[in-house]
């Protein structure tokens, strides 16, 4: 297996927590960025239905207008 010998030179007790932390921090950052930079997450989590949240898109389907 490629890179399988890495644990001969990196202690697993150090390397594995760093690897798992990197995954956790990266995914948390992406989700935090989405929640803070959009409005629909908050609306959706507060009970605004998906259809209402995407109502402008539905209107677009019938009338091909420019979306902003």
């Amino acid at each position: 297996m490629i890179y399988g010998k890495i644990w001969c030179v990196v202690k697993p007790s150090v390397g594995i927590p760093i690897f798992l932390s990197a995954v956790a921090i990266a995914s948390f950052s992406v989700h935090l960025a989405i929640t803070t930079n959009t409005t629909w997450v908050k609306e959706f989590l507060n009970g605004k239905p998906k259809a209402a949240a995407t109502a402008p898109a539905k209107a677009d389907a019938t009338t091909p207008a420019v979306r902003t």
């Binding site: 010998k5 890495i6 644990w7 001969c8 959706f44 998906k50 995407t54 898109a57």
Partner: protein
């Protein structure tokens, strides 16, 4: 003592290192599959990307 039985500075042999790595890769694959499923559900049932 052959090279395969050499104990490296981390206290592991090559075979032990590769065993740990195999489990880590398997865990990553399972995590990835669960994440992909979660993103599919989010795409289907939330306004994400709509």
């Amino acid at each position: 003592m052959s090279d395969k039985d050499k104990v490296w500075p981390t206290g592991l042999t090559e075979a032990e290192s590769e065993e740990i790595h195999r489990h880590l890769i398997q865990g990553t694959q399972i995590f990835g599959m669960i994440a992909a499923l979660a993103h599919l559900l989010a795409y289907l049932y939330s306004p994400w990307l709509k």
